[in-house]
Subunit: 255 residues, 2 copies
């Protein structure tokens, strides 16, 4: 039996996953997207559970989220996800987030995933997995009315605006810093007054290199215009090496 191309997963907006304005933290929303992607790919035979057996895994390369608003505590949110393009080394996966009762659309997401060999850390051929069966699940019809995810090009000067040590709770099931933690730490740079006034309108994240337990993350910020910010996140490993971990573009909107 072939499953639908589009997977739909319902998440309860748990009150203790909400911020002081009673709305879901964007970080928790991001984790719901990652979980939905994982369920969708596992259910269709090309998820982490199967890939780990053959020493492969998915690596998130880019993530874009565009939001009209965030769901309220106690509501139920549906996350729909589908693959809208497959190449040899990359897949494109989209998301739609909506209220499960009213259908009100919260927003959309786009993401790019690479497959790698976990032993060599080299790119792996997605179309060689199960004779390329992933192509049976590509849906190019369902609309995802937001711009493609961006590489997040930085311009010139960026200022160091904060640094975070990584700890146990930053590390995910794969042993790397959780992709969403880069965003949580970024939001943590802002004071209470900022979060009272602004919400995230659009986020673009370009992941460059994984970081690990014990790395220190340095946040460099470039303000393009008020409410339009670029961040370069640089990891510093315990032996003193530095490397770019990811870049983030954030557009804020007044609440």
């Amino acid at each position: 039996m072939t499953l639908d191309k589009i997977g739909k997963y319902e998440f309860l907006v748990e009150p203790f996953h909400c911020d002081f304005s009673q709305r879901l933290f964007v970080g928790h929303l991001g984790n719901h997207l990652l979980n939905a992607a994982d369920f969708h790919s596992n259910d269709r035979g090309f998820g982490m559970t199967y890939l780990n057996e053959i020493h492969k895994t998915w690596v998130l390369s880019r993530l874009a989220i565009e939001l009209e608003c965030l769901p309220k505590a106690y509501s139920r949110m549906n996350v729909e996800t589908w693959v809208d393009g497959v190449m040899r080394f990359f897949t494109h996966r989209n998301f739609k987030m909506a209220d499960a009762q009213t259908g009100e659309v919260y927003g959309y997401g786009r993401s790019v995933w690479a497959m790698i060999d976990t032993q060599t850390r080299q790119p792996a051929d997605i179309l060689a997995i199960k004779e390329g069966s992933i192509v049976n699940y590509v849906d190019t019809e369902k609309p995802c009315p937001i711009d493609a995810s961006s590489r997040v090009k930085m311009g010139g000067e960026a200022d160091l605006v904060g640094s975070f040590e990584t700890h146990y709770s930053d590390v995910d099931i794969n042993g790397h810093i959780n992709s969403v933690k880069y965003l949580e730490h970024l939001f943590d740079l802002m004071p209470e007054s900022w979060h009272s006034t602004y919400r995230v309108k659009r986020l673009d994240v370009a992941y460059v290199a994984e970081s690990h337990f014990g790395d220190v993350l340095h946040y460099f910020k470039e303000e393009v215009s008020p409410g339009d910010e670029l961040y370069r996140i640089v990891k510093c490993t315990p032996d003193g090496n530095t490397a770019e971990a990811c870049r983030v573009a954030v557009k804020w909107a007044e609440k």
Copy 2:
């Protein structure tokens, strides 16, 4: 219609809520308990949703969790919760955590909650709410085979072992530092090698005073014996005042 005294809530153990050993973070487990308590009390008419209308709220005073193991990624966990005692200013609420499919018991929890007036911050009479209807939901039969929660008495010397600034993502729906974040930061004091070898066997938390966005939390540790630790968490407010926020006793077991 009167609901059952015991509420049962199912939680999917989402992979991105799990640590590098593929087991649910204790912090996420703690949030599931808080959410279950909230659902149970709301469903029975004495939850935060109703209390907020009459300027009252629940405040967590003590929490004890005793664990045989932690649930694995992708499993489903049932949290049962019930009130096993009500006094004028406090209720006792218990928890049982088990695998939803196999029934394997992960552990139990005990908690003590106070009700306060949100305007005066003074204790409120629980038995005056809806003519004391909460007493209809007291269940003293269901077993909760763990010791009562502790006040966590500290002995003599305690050493400063770490400090954390609080940020946006630490703040809960009530505008206070989330009760579970004190624990997450505590676990973050330990290196990777510790978490590879040990798991939490028992936790006791005694909450003393709420802390707020921008407070710095200082962790003072007293080792009773190897694997048996006490922590005093002191908040330092932006204007330089210090006060005890909570005390935590942790017993660790080898994995």
